[in-house]
């Protein structure tokens, strides 16, 4: 596979948008899917489908094997130590809710503190807000600096003996800043505070070695990693698997069910109640294959090249204001245009086939801090090219024309 011609692996690029080729710059929202992933799902449903883990007939046995092979694949890809540390969920959002609920109900008490940052997506704040409401906990926000980063010193300042967990994003989905995870984890380990990483934007762009990151929890959305929608992953370090109570109750996750008591299976089953997304899990293997064939480092380099090119070009446009200027960043390029609201930008860009996102990107705290209610965001995936950036820049000029600026 050739990263320059990778677009041909994605069927969606055959279609036109308003008569123009699709320039998809909304991958931070959700990535497009390569043929191999789509085909695997189709093929699975057409020839191999069965519910997993529950029946002993051939279809079920094979489906179960494919399903568990996907788990192995994820384990290997993330370099997790144990396969039972890989839990399938609905989304990164669910992964974080699972931990907030399970960890929060058991370990967080009145007066305790939860430490997050101003960069967090609502998915890594609202679940903790629920715990705050239930338990009377405080949530502290490590501030973002002028460059749109969170500095380790700010986190250090906010840690104290009441801090029960640190929940931090790997990459900001607005500024693209990479947070200083290693330092956060080192600091937290010293103080024996567990760390949850919202890896939703990290996993699609960076090499993830979970043993090296050494966090306690890591949340992933497969749909941003060229995988199917409706599938998420929760990595949870082995030492927590027994400690944490189950999150949802239902079929599969039990050991023994009596009228007066219920006991639970071991992880990962314990955390996977009900019928799972069999086809999606199986097809996610193909998404990992896709990434591995290209090499995540090559993907990152390719995306960085486009990103740098985009930053250069947008900087030259006087009306454009780029949001944040982090030293280490990935994929995401948020901006505003003086005199044109991001919503209008998105609509006008769309006429040229350019798909971006406008709004607060589920980061209202960060937007309040910057003092604007919305930004336009172009986010880069493996299928983007410099030409896409050129088309984006032309389309931006078109915005200015429409608004007579």
């Amino acid at each position: 596979m050739d990263i320059k011609n990778i677009k041909s692996e994605f069927p969606i690029f055959k279609r036109k948008i308003n008569g123009k080729p699709l320039v998809y710059l909304d991958s931070a929202n959700s990535s497009q899917k390569p043929k191999a992933v789509i085909n695997r799902m189709t093929n699975f449903y057409e020839t191999e489908f069965s519910n997993v883990g529950r029946s002993v007939h051939s279809l079920a046995v094979k489906a179960t094997n494919r399903f568990e092979e996907s788990r192995d694949k994820v384990q290997k890809y993330l370099n997790a130590k144990h396969r039972e540390e890989i839990i399938f969920t609905k989304s990164a959002t669910e992964s974080i809710n699972l931990i907030a609920s399970s960890f929060g109900e058991k370990f967080i008490k009145e007066g305790d503190e939860i430490l997050i940052t101003e960069l967090e997506h609502h998915s890594n704040y609202v679940p903790w807000h629920f715990i705050r409401q239930k338990k009377g906990t405080k949530i502290k926000f490590a501030p973002v600096n002028e460059r749109g980063e969170v500095e380790i010193d700010e986190i250090k300042k906010l840690i104290n003996s009441k801090t029960k967990i640190i929940a931090i994003t790997h990459i900001s989905n607005v500024t693209g800043a990479i947070t200083p995870l290693k330092k956060v984890v080192d600091l937290a380990k010293e103080k024996k505070i567990p760390v949850l990483v919202d890896g939703t934007q990290g996993a699609p762009h960076l090499k993830i070695d979970i043993q090296e990151i050494d966090c306690d929890f890591y949340a992933i959305s497969c749909h941003k990693m060229y995988g199917p929608n409706g599938l998420g992953i929760l990595y949870a370090k082995k030492k927590w698997l027994e400690e944490l109570p189950p999150y949802q109750g239902g079929g599969g996750m039990i050991s023994e069910v009596l009228k007066d008591k219920v006991s639970f299976a071991d992880s990962p089953t314990k955390f996977e109640a009900g019928t799972l997304q069999t086809a999606e899990v199986v097809a996610f293997s193909e998404a990992i294959n896709f990434i591995e064939k290209l090499g995540i480092k090559n993907i990152q380099n390719h995306e960085n090249e486009i990103l740098e090119y985009g930053i250069e070009k947008l900087k030259k446009n006087n009306s454009v204001n780029i949001i944040g200027d982090p030293k280490e960043r990935v994929s995401v390029l948020s901006f505003t245009i003086k005199g044109i609201h991001p919503h209008d930008i998105a609509t006008i860009l769309d006429e040229d086939g350019v798909a971006i996102r406008a709004g607060h990107h589920c980061c209202q705290i960060l937007h309040d801090k910057i003092g604007i209610s919305a930004t336009a965001r172009a986010s880069i995936g493996v299928y983007n090219s410099k030409e896409d950036i050129d088309i984006l820049c032309n389309a931006i000029n078109n915005c200015k024309k429409v608004f007579n600026i």
């Binding site: 609201h341 991001p342 919503h343 609509t347 006008i348 006429e351 709004g359 209610s373 429409v402």
Partner: protein
């Protein structure tokens, strides 16, 4: 659909120079709304006298050109009108965005009709319909919600 029809001169004008911005004098009704998906906000202020005439009408808000223009045009069109007329225009406006029907009420000036009709292009941009209708829905809430 042409962008030009969406972003007509009159809309851009209202967006850049919104009429009746701020709190109108002696307002006795108000309501606010916002669209959490995009962050658009609007707050409508209304001075409704005993005879159900809109003596004052204004708005505060931030958002895209469509939402600002819509709020501005709303206040400009309905200030001084009575309540039953206001509800009729609002109905017509919401219908226009839903069904592409045009507004043709007699008691509006030709100019006013043209201005309101300029927002009909939004019909072709489904994700933007909320931008255009939010102020009008908020007006209806404000009328319901007496606030002295």
């Amino acid at each position: 659909m042409e962008l030009k029809e969406l972003y007509q001169e009159v809309i851009l004008d209202h967006a850049k120079n919104p009429r009746n911005k701020g709190k109108c004098e002696n307002y006795n009704h108000d309501a606010k709304a916002h669209n959490p998906l995009c962050g658009d906000k609007v707050h409508i202020y209304l001075n409704l006298d005993k005879d159900k005439n809109i003596k004052g009408l204004s708005f505060e808000g931030e958002g895209c050109a469509i939402s600002l223009a819509s709020a501005s045009i709303l206040t400009d069109t309905l200030k001084g009108k009575d309540l039953s007329f206001t509800k009729k225009v609002t109905d017509d406006f919401l219908n226009m965005l839903k069904n592409k029907s045009k507004i043709t009420l007699n008691s509006l000036s030709e100019d006013q009709v043209t201005t309101i009709n300029s927002l009909s292009g939004v019909h072709e941009f489904p994700m933007r319909i909320k931008c255009a209708t939010m102020a009008w829905h908020t007006l209806l809430s404000a009328i319901e919600k007496k606030n002295i």
